[in-house]
């Protein structure tokens, strides 16, 4: 396990609540990013990120330390998001008005507007993937996790991750082409 995480874990077990806060600060942005890609909007992602850390807070005393803390946190996040999604029959609600990309302030030129539009199309395409496929794409593309780690998080074989990623990328290529999105 990551040496810094191990120190924080031991401090937390020794009764230092601030060690847990340090873990939250370290991983909250990654967890939020995964949740936001999975759920499609800020409100749901913010709530899910809260719930992930509450679950982690309850379960951390029993965490066995055999995996990395972040692998464990991602597993909680993915399960929670899959669970939330399965309870909603509608497609994820996307932030349509909100910028999906960090754009500079000031009057928007045509190119930026086009960039925003493409960002929306890409988000919709990712949101349209079956939930487990979406989770794998998010963990790989946006968190750069190795296939082996993704397999551990998703509870499947590395071969499944390989095949699923290939299928997902081909599907996304088709969807983006249908929407008229070409190479950058």
């Amino acid at each position: 396990m990551d040496a810094e995480d191990l120190r924080l874990l031991e401090a937390f077990r020794g009764g230092e609540e601030s060690a847990f806060a340090a873990l939250v600060i370290k991983y909250r942005e990654s967890i939020y990013r995964v949740a936001r890609h999975m759920l499609g909007n800020h409100e749901d992602a913010a709530d899910a990120t809260q719930d992930v850390f509450i679950r982690a807070y309850r379960a951390l005393p029993r965490f066995d330390g055999r995996s990395q803390i972040y692998t464990w946190l991602y597993r909680i996040t993915v399960n929670l998001c899959l669970d939330l999604r399965s309870r909603l029959t509608r497609l994820p609600l996307l932030d349509d008005e909100e910028s999906m990309r960090d754009l500079p302030a000031g009057p928007m030129i045509e190119e930026e507007a086009a960039g925003r539009e493409i960002g929306r199309i890409v988000s919709r395409a990712v949101a349209g993937l079956p939930p487990r496929q979406r989770a794998m794409v998010v963990l790989r593309l946006y968190q750069d996790l190795p296939y082996q780690e993704i397999a551990r998080i998703m509870g499947c074989s590395e071969g499944t991750v390989k095949a699923t990623m290939f299928a997902a990328l081909r599907k996304l290529r088709r969807v983006l082409a249908e929407q008229g999105v070409r190479a950058p």
């Binding site: 936001r36 913010a46 809260q50 509450i54 794409v137 990328l169 190479a183």
Partner: protein, 173 residues
């Protein structure tokens, strides 16, 4: 698509979406050198991966993270309360009076044994205190006032105050 193509493209996707070992990369390049169909597919998959990565960043509203931490801290505090309430109710029922007495006695025995067996060193943290930290939880000191009292007496003999035990006792009623 042949099995070799499938395998090559799967590896290609792994490389396009993140990092892969150099050996895998070379195997893919070797296949692409001989297979025009996969070369065409590779170009398109690469463009797709680039598009997906490009629209990856999100913004959060200003002040979001401090508010997030406050809410989380509140929820963590609330999370501890129902457990205490449950334990208090459990301890309040007469059929658990014996169990409470036994638990208290065991804790007292364990703590005094720990204190007797481990001689204190002047420089390093007292091992008996370290051991006691593992034994005494906040729930125990709050729900068992006699234990808190006993800790006071036990600690009176110590020159060095353990901030953890100190904090626990300040929190207990």
């Amino acid at each position: 698509m042949t099995m070799r193509c499938q395998e090559a493209l799967e590896r290609l996707v792994e490389g396009l979406t993140g990092s892969v070992p150099p050996a895998d990369r070379e195997a893919v390049i070797a296949h692409l050198a001989t297979c025009a169909r996969c070369r065409q597919e590779a170009v398109e998959l690469e463009a797709t991966a680039a598009r997906l990565r490009e629209s990856a960043s999100f913004t959060v509203p200003p002040g979001f993270w401090p508010a997030f931490m406050n809410r989380l801290t509140d929820r963590m505090a609330q999370d501890r309360l129902p457990l205490l309430a449950r334990v208090r109710r459990w301890l309040g029922s007469p059929r658990h009076a014996w169990a409470t007495a036994v638990v208290t006695a065991m804790v007292v025995i364990a703590l005094s044994a720990a204190a007797r067996l481990q001689p204190r060193s002047a420089t390093s943290p007292d091992p008996s205190l370290v051991r006691a930290r593992g034994l005494v939880t906040e729930t125990m000191t709050v729900t068992l006032p006699s234990l808190a009292e006993m800790l006071d007496i036990w600690r009176a003999g110590m020159t060095e105050v353990d901030p953890h035990l100190d904090a626990l006792q300040r929190r207990s009623p």
